[in-house]
Symmetry: none
Subunit: 256 residues, 2 copies
């Protein structure tokens, strides 16, 4: 049980609602804007739409779970029925993080063999990263948290290597402006994905006491939500921008 | 009544939620991606979308039923009002399993007479397979379980015969890459459908006691859910891939 102040409770309630509608609006926007890019880039937009759709579902569940697990004396946390179900985030990530990486490959429209090879490495690595994080997240033993934190970092570093070194080679052949935008996309990815391990590490380095439990819980939920909106909505809109740049470079009329 | 630990309860709650959103996202994806294949293959995608749509509905019901049949001391099972309604799975399968088989025939776009003949045998056989399994599933008498298990296996073997022997003949005339993908599709089908009889047999060969009831229930639900996601979502995406390969072989531009 975490005792939140009224201000903390109300902030989280509104932050979750903000996450839900941001994801939902982004889902519809990328779906109905497909005709503004060439057909070959539309799958990247559909994938982005699926990512935010899956996230919208989970924010709907998180919002309800937060409401239902709250009583006058605080929010029940843990894994019992009726507790705030933090695991929705992990179910979300194990579906959306691999999809986000496929989205990047799809918008670059690389040669088929290169795309298959990148997807074949990024998807299992990202699934392993999330799956290895979960046992650490639910553990209350610090040594277990550190162990799974380290294990989960290995596929994360591998993903960074693939995105920066391997993918970097293919960027040289992209039209002007695209390489710079993809560069910003990768920075956005690192900046937002960086929130998750920081949030994971905080309770380990900064021991949570009864005094700090409420602010620790509140800050973590706000951090995760902002990171999710950046990593999915802003990320998806950047993918859309790349698709527009590439479509224009390949002769699509600018007035679409 | 099955007494689940908090960890087991929470795992099932999240597994059901994972099944629900996987089915739903797949439904939307196959529906909005129709323009990426030739018109003749679009019905296969729509059928796939209907399969995952029906499954999404049932996972929504299963998720709610699990939540509502749970109390502090465990989950009520059985057929009384308020108990966890396992039968949703059978209602789902009797609709989706025949549809899945029609999906395979649709994507191959065989000659009309061959397609009608295959559908005319696969649909009744698959409906019989599910309908004969159900009396065994709800029975608590082992001899009844074995009887209906054997009866249900007869149409299952017949389906395998049709898919591997009869359908095999028509694969020789398919374009390059398609025969191999259809081969993988059949293996996926056997691997995932294999989960259901194993799950059905387990309580017969391994007598469930009060000690093992919770883990037996948990493992069965996880096994069914993973098998469903593989047999419907991954199956549907493989059907999509076959449709893309065939569309490309028949002259559809690759940039779609």
């Amino acid at each position: 049980m975490v005792s939140l102040s009224n201000g903390q409770w109300s902030t989280l309630y509104n932050v979750f609602s903000f996450g839900l509608i941001s994801m939902l609006a982004c889902t519809v926007y990328t779906l109905v804007s497909q005709h503004r890019v060439l057909p070959k880039y539309r799958n990247a937009l559909v994938l982005s739409s699926m990512v935010t759709f899956i996230a919208a579902y989970h924010y709907f569940r998180i919002f309800n779970s937060f409401n239902e697990s709250s009583a006058a004396d605080g929010v029940t946390i843990g894994t019992a029925k009726g507790a705030f179900n933090e695991a929705y985030r992990y179910v979300d990530w194990i579906l959306t993080v691999p999809l986000l990486l496929v989205e990047v490959i799809a918008v670059l429209s690389l040669a088929k063999a290169a795309a298959s090879s990148l997807i074949g490495r990024l998807v299992p690595a990202s699934a392993a990263m999330i799956a290895l994080g979960y046992p650490g997240e639910i553990s209350t033993v610090n040594s277990t948290k550190v162990l799974f934190g380290v294990l989960s970092t290995i596929p994360f570093l591998y993903i960074l290597y693939v995105l920066f070194v391997e993918l970097g080679k293919s960027l040289e052949r992209q039209p002007e402006g695209v390489a710079a935008t993809v560069g910003r996309l990768r920075l956005l990815l690192i900046a937002t994905w960086g929130v998750y391990p920081i949030s994971y590490l905080l309770p380990i380095v900064n021991k949570v006491t009864a005094d700090t439990a409420a602010s620790s819980f509140t800050n973590r939920q706000i951090g995760y939500t902002i990171a999710d909106v950046l990593a999915k909505c802003v990320f998806g809109l950047t993918i859309f921008k790349i698709a527009r740049l590439k479509s224009a470079a390949e002769g699509m009329k600018d007035d679409h």
